[in-house]
Symmetry: C2
Subunit: 169 residues, 2 copies
């Protein structure tokens, strides 16, 4: 049984444009420094899956996010991240599924950790496939970087205006 | 006539925790460098008002945002930004009201610029009043900084995990 029947979304994303973004993917340990991934110009996608989300939702989600005109080109025209072309930093963000109950946030609608991790991996793979295909032949080097599911998302962001958008699917 | 009857929210906020955040409040001009405001530890509030939003919604919005347990204390316990106490950076973000139509974003549900500017000013004032009252006597210096309504929101963010939350009122 899922909660999708209530009409809630299966996927919630928050999108921000960036000039540069850096995310820790492995925390520091005794004998090792923390490891980071980084993108330059492009888009940060914070993503959260709800109970009932399945692979079926991913193709539409990814093609929409990559084709929405959310990025400012050098001439000031709005283009998609695929058209720019820009890079992607994908940040798993289960907190986006939170609902306030009194002063505390609850996450009862979030998908299970195992299912979320699997969908997150499939989401990242599809973003890579679509963005790299779109950028092929443009001569611009783009990359898809992503955080580790379940980790603390230590993030640095540098924007020329984040143009924060909410998109649910 | 407003669109509130459709059951949509009056205010949409996205909340991120930060170690440091910096926002441009005046762009550079020929004879002047850009001017920035900055906070250290605390919370970034991105805020967007929809058609039909009125002053009535502000007290509940502000008291909820300032009392929700979204911040990690030095001991790892979740506390509110008032309890931390931390600072606030308030970013007007009309893009949060966007809806996709095809590949373009539309903002037809957003409040008018004049009304939005007025509500934004009242929202900032109320945040200042409540946060400074809550922090009084703690000996911790906190501040409420905010962007200029209608400007490009050139933002730099440094987090130890943004814990991005969506809250609508």
């Amino acid at each position: 049984m899922t909660e999708r029947g209530s009409g809630g979304p299966a996927v919630r994303t928050v999108l921000q444009q960036c000039l540069q973004a850096r995310l820790q993917v492995e925390p520091a340990e005794e004998d090792r420094e923390a490891r980071f991934v980084q993108i330059h110009r492009g888009m940060v996608i914070y993503v959260c899956f709800f109970k009932g989300a399945t692979d079926d939702i991913l193709p539409k989600t990814v093609s929409t996010l990559l084709s929405l005109r959310l990025c400012e080109s050098t001439t000031g025209r709005l283009v998609s991240v695929s058209e720019l072309p820009g890079s992607l930093l994908i940040v798993p963000q289960a907190t986006l599924g939170g609902r306030a109950r009194g002063r505390a946030m609850q996450y009862h609608s979030n998908i299970s950790k195992e299912e979320g991790q699997r969908l997150y991996g499939a989401f990242v793979s599809l973003c890579e496939k679509e963005l790299l295909a779109a950028a092929a032949g443009t001569g611009v080097q783009v990359t898809v970087q992503h955080g580790t599911y379940g980790n603390r998302q230590v993030l640095q962001l540098d924007t020329n205006g984040p143009y924060t958008h909410l998109m649910e699917f």
